[in-house]
């Protein structure tokens, strides 16, 4: 298979999504602020969406279902980002930092 025909094979998209997923895992482990971890988790979500869309295009009998599923993933990701960022702002207001090493109090 030539390089120029890569966009017609399922494996290409799976490899791409796997690499994006790995980047998200790496960011989630190494980032030390809440916002950085949120960015990494968005990468993970987008990788899973690419996976679903690739299977939807190449193997599924009804290509509508995967698109609807991806749209729902987007809606949930938007809600997750909004809530996560508001939690970040609330944490910053209380602790004056969003460093994950320093937010260690468990006081109700």
């Amino acid at each position: 298979m030539s390089m120029l025909n890569l966009h017609n094979s399922l494996t290409t998209y799976l490899v791409l999504a796997a690499i994006l997923f790995g980047m998200g895992i790496y960011g989630l482990i190494t980032r030390r602020t809440l916002v950085g971890m949120l960015i990494a988790s968005e990468l993970i979500l987008v990788a899973s969406s690419i996976n679903i869309m690739a299977f939807n295009r190449f193997t599924a009998p009804d290509p509508v279902i995967g698109q609807i599923f991806t749209l729902f993933i987007m809606a949930i990701a938007a809600a997750e980002a909004a809530i996560g960022l508001s939690i970040t702002v609330a944490v910053y207001r209380n602790y004056k930092t969003v460093d994950t090493e320093e937010i260690v109090d468990l006081k109700g």
């Binding site: 482990i29 960015i39 969003v98």
Partner: protein, 190 residues
């Protein structure tokens, strides 16, 4: 002889329908490689840059690349939604959070120790190669399509088969909006 045949017979072979299709295929392959490179570079910037503002910019680049990949996967509607929701809403929200909370990620390593970078790299590499191996080894069986997945069909199915989930997602979004307002407003009057 109809008009199209006349035109085809007058053109050199590169410009006939078959030749054009071949060139379009090759051009699509090149564009796809460029888009993959853009997506991966954006992802690297997003997970690896020292300053978070650059990370958000890299995330936006990565999302635009992913939208183009959705275009290659026969779903222009999802591609447009990707740009609208991820680039237009999520990235902007994260940028606002960076401006409001002013996080500084420039300390190289804290109490987690200098090992966190290599350990993260090893973990991510293992996960990535495991998934790539799975994708390369498995034989995926393609089932014949029963429709083309057009935007019209998406709309019809969203409002008939999946109408329950549709309404539930709108409720989830409403609760998320109200919840984030309540959380972020708490303690503001002090």
């Amino acid at each position: 002889m109809n008009l199209m045949d006349t035109i085809n017979s007058m053109l050199p072979s590169v410009l006939t329908a078959d030749g054009l299709a071949g060139i379009a295929d090759e051009a699509a392959g090149v564009v796809f490689l460029v888009i993959c490179a853009i997506t991966l570079i954006g992802g690297i910037i997003a997970c690896n840059s020292e300053r978070l503002v650059r990370a958000v910019a890299g995330l936006a680049v990565c999302f635009v690349g992913v939208a183009a990949i959705y275009f290659f996967l026969n779903s222009p509607f999802v591609a447009m939604m990707q740009i609208l929701i991820y680039v237009g809403a999520v990235c902007i929200t994260i940028a606002f959070a960076i401006m409001l909370a002013a996080p500084e990620d420039n300390k190289k390593h804290g109490p987690a120790g200098p090992l966190s970078g290599p350990l993260g790299l090893i973990t991510a590499g293992l996960v990535t190669f495991g998934m790539i191996g799975l994708g390369l080894k498995t034989e995926f069986i393609a089932i014949p399509k029963i429709n083309m997945g057009s935007v019209k069909l998406i709309g019809v199915q969203l409002l008939t088969t999946y109408s329950m989930v549709f309404e539930l997602v709108s409720i989830v979004l409403l609760i998320a909006i109200i919840g984030s307002l309540v959380i972020a407003r708490h303690g503001r009057s002090k």
